[in-house]
């Protein structure tokens, strides 16, 4: 089983928490919190499960973002992550997926690992470019939409895992080191911070890396280094929830019962 696991983590605005003002036809962005990207949370959950199964396993998270995400990084350390590296530099701002991949890959090329895990998609960008590009830059095998990784019966240096694609589930074996990208539909759930660890001091386990350490030419970073440009952005389309009026009869009761059943209330 892998002993050094890197988990790539992105912190994103909780766009599912946006509310829509149907009268003014605008998104209400106030009070929207930053969260760990849900696909990445599944990847980290898998990594922590592997670490729990094999206590000498070390999980390190690697994230790129502003220093304002540090509280979220600390939260993940309190959940059991051993180390965190934040790639943070004003020169990184505006980088497209390719430049982002180069920055992260440059850092990863300086450390050792047996396995890299990440999410497949991010909530905010959703291009799914970054994991595959990092794998290419590092000359690793990579697979997206991973649903489950087997924690037993793996031969030394290999992992079995399952991928779901267009309704079919396939089982693969991959040689390590490799990069596996999980989907949010996988069964892995992030553990909670325990009560006794809520205020645990973890800053000594955080490393902040700037481009001074990575040494990428400035002109290859940020907006000016990015070969792709965003042509247009548009908010997720939200429709007002359908209002259903039922009468007090068998059909109405059945409708309400099915509604509650689908949501786990009965």
């Amino acid at each position: 089983m892998p002993k050094q696991i890197i988990c790539l983590v992105k912190f994103v605005p909780n766009v599912d928490g946006y509310q829509y003002d149907y009268e003014r036809n605008v998104l209400i962005r106030e009070n929207v919190r930053m969260i760990i990207n849900p696909d990445d949370a599944c990847a980290l959950s898998l990594a922590l499960q592997l670490q729990k199964n094999e206590p000498d396993t070390q999980v390190e998270i690697v994230s790129m973002g502003p220093l304002s995400v540090l509280p979220l990084v600390r939260d993940l350390l309190r959940r059991g992550v051993k180390r965190a590296t934040l790639l943070s530099d004003k020169r990184f701002v505006g980088s497209d997926t390719y430049v982002t991949s180069r920055i992260i890959a440059r850092y990863l090329s300086t450390i050792s690992y047996d396995l890299i895990v990440s999410g497949s998609h991010s909530m905010d960008g959703d291009t799914a470019h970054v994991p595959a590009q990092i794998a290419e830059l590092l000359q690793l095998e990579q697979m997206s939409n991973v649903k489950r990784v087997e924690t037993e019966n793996n031969a030394e240096g290999y992992l079995f895992f399952e991928v779901e694609s267009e309704g079919d589930r396939s089982r693969y074996r991959i040689e390590l080191p490799a990069l596996l990208s999980l989907s949010r539909d996988s069964p892995y759930k992030l553990p909670f911070v325990r009560y006794t660890d809520l205020k645990l001091e973890v800053d000594d386990r955080i490393t902040i890396i700037t481009n001074d350490q990575l040494g990428i030419p400035n002109e290859e970073l940020g907006l000016k280094g990015s070969l792709t440009k965003v042509v247009e952005t548009y908010p997720k389309t939200l429709e007002e929830k359908q209002r259903i009026v039922v009468t007090n009869d068998d059909q109405g009761i059945e409708t309400v019962y099915q509604f509650l059943k689908e949501r786990g209330f009965v």
Binding site: R33, P191, F192, V193, R194, Y195, L198, G264, F265
Partner: protein, 490 residues
Amino acid sequence: MKAQQILEQLKGMLAANQINIDPDALYDAAADRYKKYAKAKKVLDVPPPTAIVYPNSVEEVKSLLQFCNQNGINVIPRSGKTATEGGLENWKTETLVIDGKNLNKIINIDTYNMQATVQAGVPLQALEDQLRPLGYTTGHSPQSKPVAQFGGLVATRSIGQFSTLYGGIEDMVVGLECVFPDGHIARIKNVPRRAGGPDIRHIVIGNEGTLCYITEVTVKIFKVFPENNRFYGYLVRDIDTGIKVLREVMVNGYRPSVARTYSEEDARQHFYHFHKGKCVLLFMAEGQKDIAEATGRAIEAAVEKHKEGILEQVDSQLISDWFDHLNWSQQDIDDEFQGMIDNDKHDGYTTEISADWENIPKIYHSVINRIRAEFPRAEDLTMLGGHSSHSYINGTNMYFVYNYNINCAPEDEMRIYHHPLQKIIVEEALKFGGSMCHHHGIGKFRNEWTTQEHGSAHYMLEKLKQAFDPNDIMNFGTIFFKEEGAKFQK
């Protein structure tokens, strides 16, 4: 004395079917509804009791208590098992849970003298079912009525939904029988009133199993006239208006059986079919026809006096229907338990306090403001509100109600959510001179404030404990703070 020795000794005192050491039953007996989520998730941090025993007579209760008293074994008296504040939680390695379920005889229903005598394990519903066909009621109707038993009701100073007319259980108990740790059986006779020294019923009522074991209770019964019931419901501008109308009715000397007002948030979860996002005020008047009518007129007059805060009247049938579905049954409890296992969520918690008319609105707003400003997990709250549901001539109660998304391990939920919320409520109630618990009892999780609750009168509680339970075997940690138990609280 170790567990095996205790069990050996018990075999000489009781029949085999009176001793329960089934692991699932012992796990269930280790905690009550205070730690319901951790319990459902099988991660309780407290030890299971050594055994649950079911005495068949007061003599067997006497033998069991003497045995425990002589050997320093903790005793948790249990009857009904609906406790919500940790009163049934076990903090000792060697503990006997003495369950009253076999003390289940209705001894006498005396309609001439208007009283009924039951053993402690008689379910309240069982007595009520006997009384109703005769045209009588106990007048006691807590939400737990289908499950609760008399021993538990009396031990916790229970109150029911019709308390504003009938009173709390302390107003209903006319006499009782109980057993003290040294084996002394005390019978308090049934008289309408007496001036024979202090009212010793109140040493027993509300003792929460910390002084004695209740084996028999005699309660008042009342004639019931359901055909005269009158229901009143209103949407009101704010909870302050609701409290003012409640006060108006009470201070004018009227006794509606139900007098309640709900915050917007609490109204939303109770009255989804008519709340319109507003606070709700409701009453029920009952009794003889002329009394019910007079009470109804008083309610209407009080509403008229405060009409600037009354938004609209609600169809009284809606209030009547709501009352018919208010109680929770064993099935409801079981469903919530399964829901916690399957869906990682529960039906929320409540903390009930009381204060005089002047201070109750202050406490309400202070609590809500403090929780919103100070509670570290405020963003997880899915519901925060409250209602007043038991009123008196000098004040009322406030039932704070809250629920939240549980974003923590099940074993941490109490410490991260329920206890910090309860702490704010208790602190504000005490700060404004109110009581930190109106009708659930202190249990084990409000015991850190017992001395503050009673102030200089705590001396009397301490002396009672020393006198009746000198070996400290009765329900360790309930009512009285214990440093040894703090690890299960904080």
